[in-house]
């Protein structure tokens, strides 16, 4: 050893230097051992040098943050999806209700062709030749007669009525134009075939009643025929509806 390190004032007694060195080395040994152990445990656990630990920690935190962000994004999207689905089902329900209502209204308006049981009434002008001085009105079928029959059928519970293939709807008016009848802006000529859908027995009973318009027509000798059917057809109303003056009055 060097002469300087041997400087013992009293042989056998440690100097301040030796004590200090011993204490310092003790600290270094302790700290170094702990350090080595920590380093080794890190390496054993992660198989990476501790210098990269910082960087990797940062990366990990970054990734965790990103994942959290994406997860919240997913959650938001899921919620949006479920909300949209909810709205869609609600809309679908509303749409179905509207469609059902539309269907009913189309039926009521008469813009759908219909089929079903009912009665057929045929009115003809009188076939016998007109005698001298006889009023021709007595042997002709008037629009009022057709109107009366139609009204009777409505009154008996008819659900759809057509005259010579012209559907009678809420705005249909029967008027007289010379020798023909104007119905839905179409001229109808005899014979007048009135088809009404409804309960055939009820309709026929109403037509054969005492006060039925057919009774008067028969009394005048006009050929009138009534037949019931199980599969009659009523065409759709082909015209349009115009409301230029009337407005919806909803409170």
């Amino acid at each position: 050893m060097s002469y300087a390190l041997r400087g013992e004032a009293v042989p056998g007694r440690p100097t301040g230097l030796q004590l200090a060195l011993a204490a310092a080395l003790l600290c270094v040994g302790l700290l170094g051992t702990w350090q080595l152990r920590a380093e080794r445990s890190i390496r054993a656990a992660l198989r990476i040098p501790s210098q990269r630990l910082e960087e990797l920690t940062f990366l990990l935190q970054e990734q965790a943050r990103q994942r959290e962000e994406l997860e919240s994004h997913i959650a938001a999207l899921r919620e949006r999806l479920s909300r949209t689905e909810e709205v869609a089902t609600r809309d679908r329900g509303a749409l179905q209700a509207l469609q059902r209502r539309l269907e009913a209204l189309r039926l009521a308006a008469g813009v759908e062709p219909l089929r079903g049981p009912g009665v057929v009434v045929e009115l003809r002008d009188s076939p016998k030749p007109l005698a001298e001085g006889e009023d021709p009105n007595l042997v002709l079928v008037h629009y009022t007669d057709v109107q009366a029959v139609v009204a009777t059928l409505w009154g008996a519970g008819a659900e759809a009525v057509a005259v010579n293939g012209e559907r009678v709807v809420s705005t249909t008016g029967l008027t007289c134009v010379g020798t023909t009848i104007l119905c839905n802006a179409r001229r109808l000529a005899p014979p007048y075939v009135i088809v009404a859908l409804g309960n055939p027995r009820a309709l026929a009973a109403a037509l054969e009643a005492e006060d039925s318009p057919l009774t008067a027509l028969r009394a005048f000798g006009l050929p009138v025929r009534v037949a019931t059917g199980q599969d009659l057809r009523v065409p759709a109303y082909r015209g349009g509806f115009q409301f230029r003056f009337a407005q919806v009055d909803r409170p």
Binding site: Q18, L21, A22, L25, L26, G29, G32
Partner: protein, 124 residues
């Protein structure tokens, strides 16, 4: 010289027996502290060889350098500056310097002893 070596031995044994787990985040700082302690130790040795060893200076230097090195590294990390690297370089340089000085001094001492042990053959 047995006392310092015994101190080192006791320290290592104590470190092995007392299992203190240094938290992962602090491993970097304790590494610098060990480096600083080593540097101070060698510095003290060198001062002794130069004949200007002061117990108070050595002890305070040991404690302050060690803790301050770790602290500075931690502060550097907080600020995002790699003081760690600077500390490693500086302490390594100083340790090498001290070691080389101690080596030269010891060699000189051995040479002189050898010469004295041979007993001045030519009388000069």
């Amino acid at each position: 010289m047995w006392l310092p070596l015994a101190g080192l031995l006791v320290g290592v044994l104590l470190g092995l027996v007392v299992g203190v787990e240094i938290p992962l985040g602090l491993v970097k700082y304790t590494a610098i502290a060990v480096l600083a302690a080593l540097d101070t130790l060698l510095g003290g040795l060198r001062a002794q060889l130069e004949g200007r060893f002061d117990l108070v200076v050595f002890t305070s230097g040991f404690l302050v350098n060690t803790s301050f090195a770790a602290l500075l590294t931690a502060i550097g990390d907080l600020l995002g500056v790699d003081v760690y690297l600077g500390a490693v370089i500086v302490f390594s340089m100083r340790i090498f310097n001290n070691v080389s000085f101690i080596r030269r001094d010891l060699l000189r001492g051995f040479a002189r002893e050898a010469v004295q042990g041979a007993g001045q053959p030519e009388g000069r």
